[in-house]
Protein backbone atom coordinates (compact mmCIF):
# COMPACT_ATOMS: atom_id res chain seq x y z
CA UNK A 1 0.00 0.00 0.00
CA UNK A 2 2.83 2.37 0.93
CA UNK A 3 4.52 1.54 -2.37
CA UNK A 4 1.25 2.33 -4.14
CA UNK A 5 1.45 5.86 -2.69
CA UNK A 6 5.19 6.50 -2.52
CA UNK A 7 6.58 4.79 -5.61
CA UNK A 8 5.11 7.26 -8.14
CA UNK A 9 6.68 10.15 -6.21
CA UNK A 10 10.15 9.05 -7.31
CA UNK A 11 9.42 10.83 -10.56
CA UNK A 12 9.59 14.61 -10.84
CA UNK A 13 6.66 14.72 -13.26
CA UNK A 14 4.49 12.88 -10.72
CA UNK A 15 5.36 15.32 -7.94
CA UNK A 16 4.48 18.23 -10.25
CA UNK A 17 1.24 16.48 -11.21
CA UNK A 18 0.41 15.94 -7.53
CA UNK A 19 1.02 19.60 -6.65
CA UNK A 20 -1.01 20.75 -9.66
CA UNK A 21 -3.86 18.37 -8.86
CA UNK A 22 -4.06 19.41 -5.20
CA UNK A 23 -4.11 23.09 -6.19
CA UNK A 24 -6.91 22.47 -8.69
CA UNK A 25 -8.69 20.13 -6.27
CA UNK A 26 -8.76 22.91 -3.67
CA UNK A 27 -9.26 26.01 -5.83
CA UNK A 28 -11.98 24.79 -8.19
CA UNK A 29 -14.32 23.77 -5.34
CA UNK A 30 -13.62 27.00 -3.39
CA UNK A 31 -14.98 28.96 -6.35
CA UNK A 32 -17.40 26.12 -7.09
CA UNK A 33 -19.19 26.74 -3.79
CA UNK A 34 -20.28 30.11 -5.24
CA UNK A 35 -20.90 28.62 -8.68
CA UNK A 36 -23.32 26.02 -7.25
CA UNK A 37 -25.20 28.37 -4.92
CA UNK A 38 -25.37 31.24 -7.43
CA UNK A 39 -26.64 28.91 -10.19
CA UNK A 40 -23.60 29.61 -12.38
CA UNK A 41 -22.66 26.06 -13.43
CA UNK A 42 -22.99 26.94 -17.10
CA UNK A 43 -20.49 29.79 -16.77
CA UNK A 44 -17.76 27.41 -15.57
CA UNK A 45 -18.22 25.17 -18.58
CA UNK A 46 -18.35 28.18 -20.89
CA UNK A 47 -15.18 29.80 -19.56
CA UNK A 48 -13.30 26.52 -19.90
CA UNK A 49 -14.21 26.31 -23.58
CA UNK A 50 -13.79 30.04 -24.22
CA UNK A 51 -10.09 30.14 -23.27
CA UNK A 52 -9.19 27.84 -26.20
CA UNK A 53 -8.15 30.70 -28.57
CA UNK A 54 -5.74 32.03 -25.92
CA UNK A 55 -4.19 28.61 -25.48
CA UNK A 56 -3.81 28.18 -29.25
CA UNK A 57 -2.09 31.58 -29.47
CA UNK A 58 0.24 30.36 -26.70
CA UNK A 59 1.14 27.24 -28.72
CA UNK A 60 1.64 29.35 -31.85
CA UNK A 61 3.97 31.94 -30.36
CA UNK A 62 5.73 29.49 -28.08
CA UNK A 63 4.66 30.74 -24.65
CA UNK A 64 3.10 28.64 -21.92
CA UNK A 65 -0.57 28.06 -22.95
CA UNK A 66 -1.75 28.48 -19.34
CA UNK A 67 -0.21 31.97 -19.25
CA UNK A 68 -1.65 32.79 -22.68
CA UNK A 69 -5.11 31.61 -21.58
CA UNK A 70 -5.25 34.01 -18.61
CA UNK A 71 -6.04 37.23 -20.57
CA UNK A 72 -8.57 35.36 -22.73
CA UNK A 73 -10.34 33.94 -19.69
CA UNK A 74 -10.41 37.29 -17.93
CA UNK A 75 -11.55 39.05 -21.11
CA UNK A 76 -14.39 36.60 -21.70
CA UNK A 77 -15.45 36.77 -18.04
CA UNK A 78 -15.75 40.56 -18.26
CA UNK A 79 -17.47 40.36 -21.67
CA UNK A 80 -20.12 37.94 -20.37
CA UNK A 81 -21.27 40.42 -17.78
CA UNK A 82 -20.96 43.41 -20.09
CA UNK A 83 -22.96 41.76 -22.90
CA UNK A 84 -25.74 40.66 -20.57
CA UNK A 85 -25.98 44.18 -19.06
CA UNK A 86 -25.87 46.07 -22.35
CA UNK A 87 -28.23 43.75 -24.23
CA UNK A 88 -30.55 43.18 -21.29
CA UNK A 89 -30.09 39.44 -21.83
CA UNK A 90 -29.86 36.76 -19.18
CA UNK A 91 -26.34 35.76 -18.19
CA UNK A 92 -27.02 32.28 -19.60
CA UNK A 93 -27.74 33.72 -23.04
CA UNK A 94 -24.64 35.90 -23.19
CA UNK A 95 -22.59 32.93 -21.94
CA UNK A 96 -24.05 30.80 -24.74
CA UNK A 97 -23.11 33.41 -27.36
CA UNK A 98 -19.54 33.97 -26.15
CA UNK A 99 -18.83 30.34 -25.27
CA UNK A 100 -19.77 29.06 -28.71
CA UNK A 101 -18.04 31.93 -30.53
CA UNK A 102 -14.76 31.61 -28.65
CA UNK A 103 -14.63 27.81 -28.82
CA UNK A 104 -15.36 27.95 -32.56
CA UNK A 105 -12.62 30.57 -32.97
CA UNK A 106 -10.17 28.32 -31.09
CA UNK A 107 -11.03 25.29 -33.25
CA UNK A 108 -10.71 27.37 -36.44
CA UNK A 109 -7.31 28.67 -35.31
CA UNK A 110 -6.17 25.12 -34.49
CA UNK A 111 -7.30 23.87 -37.89
CA UNK A 112 -5.58 26.69 -39.80
CA UNK A 113 -2.33 26.69 -37.81
CA UNK A 114 -0.15 24.24 -39.68
CA UNK A 115 2.98 25.00 -37.67
CA UNK A 116 1.74 23.58 -34.36
CA UNK A 117 0.78 20.12 -33.25
CA UNK A 118 -1.57 19.93 -30.30
CA UNK A 119 -2.92 16.76 -28.74
CA UNK A 120 -6.63 17.58 -28.58
CA UNK A 121 -7.24 14.72 -26.15
CA UNK A 122 -4.85 16.25 -23.61
CA UNK A 123 -6.53 19.60 -24.09
CA UNK A 124 -10.04 18.22 -23.68
CA UNK A 125 -9.39 15.64 -20.94
CA UNK A 126 -6.36 17.10 -19.14
CA UNK A 127 -2.85 15.76 -18.64
CA UNK A 128 -1.40 16.66 -15.25
CA UNK A 129 1.56 14.32 -15.82
CA UNK A 130 2.74 16.69 -18.58
CA UNK A 131 2.80 19.73 -16.26
CA UNK A 132 6.05 21.69 -16.56
CA UNK A 133 7.70 23.60 -13.70
CA UNK A 134 6.37 26.82 -15.33
CA UNK A 135 2.82 25.39 -15.20
CA UNK A 136 3.24 24.79 -11.48
CA UNK A 137 4.62 28.30 -10.86
CA UNK A 138 1.67 29.77 -12.79
CA UNK A 139 -0.75 27.62 -10.74
CA UNK A 140 0.88 28.68 -7.46
CA UNK A 141 0.74 32.36 -8.46
CA UNK A 142 -2.93 32.13 -9.47
CA UNK A 143 -3.77 30.23 -6.28
CA UNK A 144 -2.19 32.94 -4.13
CA UNK A 145 -4.02 35.74 -5.98
CA UNK A 146 -7.41 33.97 -5.83
CA UNK A 147 -7.12 33.02 -2.15
CA UNK A 148 -6.27 36.63 -1.28
CA UNK A 149 -9.20 37.82 -3.41
CA UNK A 150 -11.65 35.40 -1.81
CA UNK A 151 -10.46 36.35 1.68
CA UNK A 152 -10.67 40.10 1.02
CA UNK A 153 -14.06 40.02 -0.70
CA UNK A 154 -15.70 37.30 1.41
CA UNK A 155 -18.44 39.42 2.97
CA UNK A 156 -19.19 41.33 -0.22
CA UNK A 157 -19.44 38.02 -2.09
CA UNK A 158 -21.86 36.71 0.55
CA UNK A 159 -23.93 39.91 0.24
CA UNK A 160 -24.16 39.93 -3.56
CA UNK A 161 -24.75 36.16 -3.70
CA UNK A 162 -27.62 36.15 -1.22
CA UNK A 163 -29.17 39.52 -2.01
CA UNK A 164 -28.20 40.51 -5.55
CA UNK A 165 -30.81 43.29 -5.66
CA UNK A 166 -30.30 44.78 -2.19
CA UNK A 167 -26.52 44.80 -2.60
CA UNK A 168 -26.91 46.92 -5.74
CA UNK A 169 -27.46 49.92 -3.47
CA UNK A 170 -23.68 49.89 -3.32
CA UNK A 171 -23.58 49.63 -7.09
CA UNK A 172 -19.91 50.41 -7.74
CA UNK A 173 -18.60 48.05 -5.10
CA UNK A 174 -21.01 45.26 -6.01
CA UNK A 175 -20.09 45.52 -9.68
CA UNK A 176 -16.38 45.40 -8.86
CA UNK A 177 -16.98 42.35 -6.64
CA UNK A 178 -18.98 40.57 -9.39
CA UNK A 179 -16.31 41.28 -12.01
CA UNK A 180 -13.59 40.21 -9.56
CA UNK A 181 -15.44 36.95 -8.97
CA UNK A 182 -15.67 36.21 -12.70
CA UNK A 183 -11.98 37.03 -13.15
CA UNK A 184 -11.02 34.72 -10.25
CA UNK A 185 -13.21 32.01 -11.78
CA UNK A 186 -11.48 32.42 -15.14
CA UNK A 187 -8.06 32.20 -13.48
CA UNK A 188 -8.95 29.02 -11.61
CA UNK A 189 -10.39 27.45 -14.74
CA UNK A 190 -7.15 28.16 -16.58
CA UNK A 191 -5.15 26.15 -14.02
CA UNK A 192 -7.91 23.52 -13.93
CA UNK A 193 -7.66 22.85 -17.67
CA UNK A 194 -4.09 21.53 -17.36
CA UNK A 195 -5.24 18.95 -14.82
CA UNK A 196 -8.82 18.10 -15.75
CA UNK A 197 -9.11 19.34 -19.33
CA UNK A 198 -11.53 21.72 -21.00
CA UNK A 199 -14.46 19.32 -20.88
CA UNK A 200 -14.12 18.11 -17.30
CA UNK A 201 -12.86 21.15 -15.40
CA UNK A 202 -16.51 21.95 -14.68
CA UNK A 203 -16.76 18.64 -12.83
CA UNK A 204 -14.11 19.84 -10.37
CA UNK A 205 -15.93 23.15 -10.01
CA UNK A 206 -19.37 21.72 -9.41
CA UNK A 207 -19.32 18.17 -8.02
CA UNK A 208 -17.31 18.62 -4.77
CA UNK A 209 -19.24 21.82 -4.00
CA UNK A 210 -22.58 20.11 -4.65
CA UNK A 211 -21.50 17.26 -2.35
CA UNK A 212 -20.54 19.71 0.39
CA UNK A 213 -23.92 21.46 -0.03
CA UNK A 214 -25.53 18.19 1.07
CA UNK A 215 -23.18 17.68 4.01
CA UNK A 216 -23.00 21.04 5.83
CA UNK A 217 -25.38 23.85 6.65
CA UNK A 218 -23.47 27.12 6.32
CA UNK A 219 -21.68 28.56 3.34
CA UNK A 220 -18.25 29.00 4.92
CA UNK A 221 -18.26 25.35 6.07
CA UNK A 222 -19.38 24.42 2.56
CA UNK A 223 -16.28 26.09 1.09
CA UNK A 224 -13.95 24.24 3.46
CA UNK A 225 -15.60 20.82 2.97
CA UNK A 226 -15.81 21.19 -0.80
CA UNK A 227 -12.09 22.05 -0.98
CA UNK A 228 -11.27 18.94 1.11
CA UNK A 229 -13.46 16.74 -1.09
CA UNK A 230 -11.98 18.26 -4.25
CA UNK A 231 -8.41 17.66 -3.09
CA UNK A 232 -9.27 14.06 -2.14
CA UNK A 233 -10.90 13.43 -5.54
CA UNK A 234 -7.98 15.03 -7.41
CA UNK A 235 -5.30 13.05 -5.59
CA UNK A 236 -7.22 9.74 -5.73
CA UNK A 237 -7.97 10.31 -9.40
CA UNK A 238 -4.31 11.09 -10.14
CA UNK A 239 -3.13 7.86 -8.48
CA UNK A 240 -5.80 5.89 -10.33
CA UNK A 241 -4.62 7.53 -13.54
CA UNK A 242 -1.00 6.58 -12.84
CA UNK A 243 -1.57 3.01 -11.71
CA UNK A 244 -4.38 1.99 -14.07
CA UNK A 245 -3.28 4.02 -17.09
CA UNK A 246 -6.45 6.12 -17.19
CA UNK A 247 -6.74 9.72 -18.39
CA UNK A 248 -6.49 11.96 -15.29
CA UNK A 249 -9.50 14.24 -15.87
CA UNK A 250 -12.02 11.40 -16.20
CA UNK A 251 -10.48 9.52 -13.24
CA UNK A 252 -10.82 12.58 -10.96
CA UNK A 253 -14.34 13.23 -12.21
CA UNK A 254 -15.41 9.65 -11.52
CA UNK A 255 -13.98 9.76 -7.98
CA UNK A 256 -15.79 13.06 -7.29
CA UNK A 257 -19.02 11.68 -8.80
CA UNK A 258 -18.68 8.50 -6.73
CA UNK A 259 -18.42 10.52 -3.52
CA UNK A 260 -21.45 12.60 -4.58
CA UNK A 261 -23.48 9.43 -5.35
CA UNK A 262 -22.55 7.99 -1.96
CA UNK A 263 -23.50 11.17 -0.09
CA UNK A 264 -26.78 11.77 -1.91
CA UNK A 265 -27.87 8.21 -1.16
CA UNK A 266 -28.08 8.98 2.55
CA UNK A 267 -28.28 12.79 2.76
CA UNK A 268 -30.83 15.16 1.37
CA UNK A 269 -31.34 18.87 1.79
CA UNK A 270 -34.77 20.24 2.58
CA UNK A 271 -36.42 21.81 -0.47
CA UNK A 272 -36.34 25.62 -0.59
Amino acid sequence: MIDFIVAPLEYGFMIRALIGSVLVGVMCPLLGAYVVTRNLAFIGDALAHAVLPGMVVGFMVGINPAIAAVPTGVGVAVLIRTVSRRAGLSTDTSIGILFATMFALGLAMLASATTIRVDMEDLLLGEPLAATPTDIYVSLGITAVVILGLFALHHWLLFSSFDPVGSQIFRTRTNIVDYAFLIMLALVIVIGIQVAGIVLVMAMLVIPAATAYLLVRRFTSMMVVSAMLGAAAAVTGLYASYHFNLPAGPAMTLVASGIFALVISFRRRAPI
Binding site: T37, R38, N39, F151, A152, L153, H154, H155, W156, L158, F159, S161, F162, D163, P164, V165, G166, S167, Q168, I169, F170, R171, R173, Y213, R217, R218, F219, M222, A270, I272
Partner: protein, 238 residues
Protein backbone atom coordinates in the same frame (compact mmCIF):
# COMPACT_ATOMS: atom_id res chain seq x y z
CA UNK B 1 -39.80 62.01 -10.09
CA UNK B 2 -40.83 60.37 -13.33
CA UNK B 3 -39.72 56.84 -14.19
CA UNK B 4 -39.92 55.19 -17.58
CA UNK B 5 -39.22 51.49 -18.11
CA UNK B 6 -38.86 50.25 -21.71
CA UNK B 7 -40.88 53.22 -23.00
CA UNK B 8 -43.68 52.60 -20.49
CA UNK B 9 -44.40 55.33 -17.95
CA UNK B 10 -44.10 53.44 -14.65
CA UNK B 11 -44.37 56.47 -12.36
CA UNK B 12 -45.51 59.91 -13.38
CA UNK B 13 -44.59 63.10 -11.50
CA UNK B 14 -44.40 61.47 -8.08
CA UNK B 15 -43.62 64.09 -5.46
CA UNK B 16 -43.64 63.65 -1.71
CA UNK B 17 -41.63 64.57 1.38
CA UNK B 18 -41.03 62.39 4.40
CA UNK B 19 -39.83 63.89 7.68
CA UNK B 20 -37.39 62.14 9.97
CA UNK B 21 -39.17 59.85 12.41
CA UNK B 22 -41.91 58.72 10.03
CA UNK B 23 -43.27 55.25 9.37
CA UNK B 24 -44.93 55.41 5.95
CA UNK B 25 -47.01 52.74 4.27
CA UNK B 26 -46.90 52.65 0.48
CA UNK B 27 -50.08 51.07 -0.86
CA UNK B 28 -51.60 50.45 -4.25
CA UNK B 29 -52.64 47.65 -6.58
CA UNK B 30 -50.26 45.33 -8.46
CA UNK B 31 -48.33 47.36 -11.03
CA UNK B 32 -48.99 50.62 -9.19
CA UNK B 33 -45.25 51.32 -9.07
CA UNK B 34 -44.48 50.57 -5.41
CA UNK B 35 -41.37 48.50 -6.17
CA UNK B 36 -40.42 50.91 -8.97
CA UNK B 37 -40.57 53.78 -6.49
CA UNK B 38 -38.34 51.90 -4.03
CA UNK B 39 -35.88 50.93 -6.76
CA UNK B 40 -35.68 54.57 -7.85
CA UNK B 41 -35.16 55.82 -4.30
CA UNK B 42 -32.46 53.18 -3.82
CA UNK B 43 -30.74 54.30 -7.02
CA UNK B 44 -31.36 50.99 -8.81
CA UNK B 45 -33.42 52.60 -11.57
CA UNK B 46 -32.59 55.73 -13.53
CA UNK B 47 -34.93 58.61 -12.79
CA UNK B 48 -36.04 60.22 -16.07
CA UNK B 49 -37.02 63.51 -14.46
CA UNK B 50 -36.64 64.65 -10.89
CA UNK B 51 -34.39 63.83 -7.97
CA UNK B 52 -34.36 61.85 -4.78
CA UNK B 53 -32.84 63.70 -1.86
CA UNK B 54 -31.99 62.03 1.41
CA UNK B 55 -31.13 64.15 4.40
CA UNK B 56 -30.96 67.14 2.07
CA UNK B 57 -28.14 65.53 0.04
CA UNK B 58 -28.42 63.40 -3.10
CA UNK B 59 -29.04 59.73 -2.46
CA UNK B 60 -25.99 57.75 -1.45
CA UNK B 61 -24.93 54.31 -0.21
CA UNK B 62 -24.77 53.76 3.52
CA UNK B 63 -27.57 56.16 4.40
CA UNK B 64 -30.23 53.86 2.99
CA UNK B 65 -31.07 50.19 3.47
CA UNK B 66 -33.25 48.26 1.06
CA UNK B 67 -35.05 44.98 1.67
CA UNK B 68 -36.27 43.68 -1.69
CA UNK B 69 -39.16 41.29 -2.21
CA UNK B 70 -38.70 37.69 -1.10
CA UNK B 71 -38.46 36.46 -4.70
CA UNK B 72 -35.37 38.58 -5.35
CA UNK B 73 -33.32 36.79 -2.71
CA UNK B 74 -31.22 33.70 -3.41
CA UNK B 75 -32.63 31.24 -0.89
CA UNK B 76 -30.32 28.48 -2.15
CA UNK B 77 -27.43 30.41 -0.64
CA UNK B 78 -26.96 28.97 2.87
CA UNK B 79 -26.43 31.91 5.21
CA UNK B 80 -27.33 32.32 8.87
CA UNK B 81 -29.18 35.25 10.45
CA UNK B 82 -25.90 36.67 11.80
CA UNK B 83 -24.26 36.33 8.34
CA UNK B 84 -27.08 38.41 6.87
CA UNK B 85 -26.84 41.08 9.56
CA UNK B 86 -23.05 41.20 9.05
CA UNK B 87 -23.74 42.09 5.39
CA UNK B 88 -24.94 45.43 6.75
CA UNK B 89 -21.40 46.10 7.96
CA UNK B 90 -19.94 45.68 4.46
CA UNK B 91 -20.26 49.34 3.55
CA UNK B 92 -18.62 50.37 6.82
CA UNK B 93 -15.63 48.09 6.30
CA UNK B 94 -12.92 48.93 3.83
CA UNK B 95 -12.14 46.66 0.92
CA UNK B 96 -9.64 44.52 2.75
CA UNK B 97 -10.76 44.92 6.37
CA UNK B 98 -12.37 41.89 7.94
CA UNK B 99 -15.14 42.34 10.53
CA UNK B 100 -13.66 42.83 13.98
CA UNK B 101 -14.86 42.35 17.53
CA UNK B 102 -16.85 45.60 17.45
CA UNK B 103 -18.64 44.52 14.27
CA UNK B 104 -19.56 41.16 15.76
CA UNK B 105 -20.81 42.80 18.95
CA UNK B 106 -22.87 45.24 16.92
CA UNK B 107 -24.38 42.39 14.88
CA UNK B 108 -25.38 40.57 18.07
CA UNK B 109 -26.81 43.78 19.51
CA UNK B 110 -28.86 44.42 16.35
CA UNK B 111 -30.22 40.86 16.43
CA UNK B 112 -31.06 41.41 20.09
CA UNK B 113 -32.99 44.60 19.26
CA UNK B 114 -35.28 42.72 16.88
CA UNK B 115 -35.67 39.84 19.34
CA UNK B 116 -33.68 37.27 17.37
CA UNK B 117 -30.41 36.96 19.28
CA UNK B 118 -31.20 33.33 20.15
CA UNK B 119 -31.78 32.60 16.45
CA UNK B 120 -28.46 34.10 15.31
CA UNK B 121 -27.06 30.76 14.09
CA UNK B 122 -30.24 29.64 12.34
CA UNK B 123 -30.19 29.51 8.55
CA UNK B 124 -32.44 32.06 6.88
CA UNK B 125 -34.43 29.21 5.32
CA UNK B 126 -35.18 27.89 8.81
CA UNK B 127 -36.79 31.15 9.97
CA UNK B 128 -40.43 32.15 9.55
CA UNK B 129 -41.43 34.98 7.18
CA UNK B 130 -41.75 37.47 10.04
CA UNK B 131 -38.41 36.48 11.55
CA UNK B 132 -36.70 36.91 8.17
CA UNK B 133 -38.06 40.43 7.86
CA UNK B 134 -36.78 41.23 11.34
CA UNK B 135 -33.33 39.92 10.34
CA UNK B 136 -33.35 42.38 7.43
CA UNK B 137 -34.33 45.19 9.80
CA UNK B 138 -31.37 44.15 11.99
CA UNK B 139 -29.17 44.30 8.89
CA UNK B 140 -30.33 47.86 8.28
CA UNK B 141 -29.49 48.70 11.89
CA UNK B 142 -26.01 47.18 11.50
CA UNK B 143 -25.59 49.30 8.38
CA UNK B 144 -26.45 52.34 10.55
CA UNK B 145 -28.93 53.38 7.86
CA UNK B 146 -31.38 56.18 8.58
CA UNK B 147 -33.77 55.31 5.78
CA UNK B 148 -35.29 51.82 5.45
CA UNK B 149 -37.19 50.62 2.39
CA UNK B 150 -39.09 47.35 2.89
CA UNK B 151 -40.79 45.97 -0.21
CA UNK B 152 -43.80 43.74 0.49
CA UNK B 153 -42.56 43.10 4.00
CA UNK B 154 -45.90 41.57 5.09
CA UNK B 155 -45.98 39.06 2.25
CA UNK B 156 -46.13 35.51 3.65
CA UNK B 157 -46.11 36.86 7.23
CA UNK B 158 -48.93 35.95 9.59
CA UNK B 159 -50.87 38.67 11.41
CA UNK B 160 -49.14 38.16 14.78
CA UNK B 161 -45.69 38.35 13.18
CA UNK B 162 -46.79 41.44 11.22
CA UNK B 163 -47.63 43.16 14.49
CA UNK B 164 -44.22 42.15 15.95
CA UNK B 165 -42.53 43.63 12.89
CA UNK B 166 -44.56 46.83 13.10
CA UNK B 167 -43.61 47.12 16.79
CA UNK B 168 -39.91 46.95 15.89
CA UNK B 169 -40.36 49.47 13.06
CA UNK B 170 -42.28 51.88 15.31
CA UNK B 171 -39.44 51.77 17.84
CA UNK B 172 -36.96 52.65 15.06
CA UNK B 173 -39.30 55.41 13.89
CA UNK B 174 -39.25 56.83 17.41
CA UNK B 175 -35.45 57.09 17.13
CA UNK B 176 -35.84 59.38 14.11
CA UNK B 177 -35.52 56.94 11.24
CA UNK B 178 -37.57 57.10 8.07
CA UNK B 179 -39.22 53.81 7.15
CA UNK B 180 -41.15 53.17 3.94
CA UNK B 181 -42.98 49.85 3.75
CA UNK B 182 -44.78 48.75 0.59
CA UNK B 183 -47.75 46.50 1.24
CA UNK B 184 -50.88 45.06 -0.30
CA UNK B 185 -52.33 44.54 3.13
CA UNK B 186 -54.94 47.22 3.83
CA UNK B 187 -55.54 45.97 7.39
CA UNK B 188 -55.14 48.46 10.23
CA UNK B 189 -53.21 51.04 8.20
CA UNK B 190 -54.12 53.78 10.69
CA UNK B 191 -52.81 51.74 13.60
CA UNK B 192 -49.57 50.87 11.85
CA UNK B 193 -48.44 53.89 9.87
CA UNK B 194 -48.03 57.62 10.49
CA UNK B 195 -48.41 58.40 6.81
CA UNK B 196 -49.74 56.52 3.81
CA UNK B 197 -48.65 57.05 0.21
CA UNK B 198 -51.34 55.85 -2.18
CA UNK B 199 -49.93 55.00 -5.60
CA UNK B 200 -51.35 53.96 -8.93
CA UNK B 201 -48.69 55.09 -11.38
CA UNK B 202 -49.01 58.51 -9.79
CA UNK B 203 -49.64 59.78 -6.28
CA UNK B 204 -53.36 59.38 -5.56
CA UNK B 205 -52.92 60.75 -2.05
CA UNK B 206 -50.32 61.15 0.66
CA UNK B 207 -50.83 61.95 4.32
CA UNK B 208 -52.13 60.53 7.60
CA UNK B 209 -54.16 57.35 6.94
CA UNK B 210 -57.38 58.58 8.50
CA UNK B 211 -57.35 61.65 6.24
CA UNK B 212 -56.27 60.23 2.89
CA UNK B 213 -57.94 56.80 2.74
CA UNK B 214 -61.24 58.08 1.43
CA UNK B 215 -63.62 56.23 -0.88
CA UNK B 216 -62.46 58.47 -3.76
CA UNK B 217 -58.81 57.59 -3.22
CA UNK B 218 -59.64 53.89 -2.91
CA UNK B 219 -61.51 54.11 -6.20
CA UNK B 220 -58.55 55.84 -7.86
CA UNK B 221 -56.32 52.98 -6.76
CA UNK B 222 -58.56 49.96 -7.17
CA UNK B 223 -61.22 51.16 -9.59
CA UNK B 224 -64.65 49.57 -9.20
CA UNK B 225 -63.22 47.17 -6.62
CA UNK B 226 -62.17 50.13 -4.49
CA UNK B 227 -65.72 51.24 -3.79
CA UNK B 228 -66.52 47.77 -2.45
CA UNK B 229 -63.81 48.22 0.17
CA UNK B 230 -65.34 49.43 3.40
CA UNK B 231 -63.87 51.07 6.42
CA UNK B 232 -64.43 49.28 9.70
CA UNK B 233 -62.87 49.84 13.09
CA UNK B 234 -59.52 48.37 12.10
CA UNK B 235 -59.13 49.60 8.55
CA UNK B 236 -60.26 48.88 5.00
CA UNK B 237 -61.77 45.49 4.34
CA UNK B 238 -63.66 43.92 1.46
Amino acid sequence: MTIEIDGHMALSSVTFDVDAGTLMGVVGPNGAGKSTLFNAIAGLLPVRRGTVTLNRVDQGGGELAYVPQRESLNWRFPVSASDVVMMGRCCRLGWFRRPGKRDRELVNACLGRVGLWDQRSALMTELSGGQRQRVFVARALAQEANVLLLDEAFSGVDVGAQEDLVGVLQALRDEGRIILLATHDMTNLAGRFDQVLCLNGYVCACGPPDQVLTSEVMEQMYGAHGVRLTMDGSGWTT
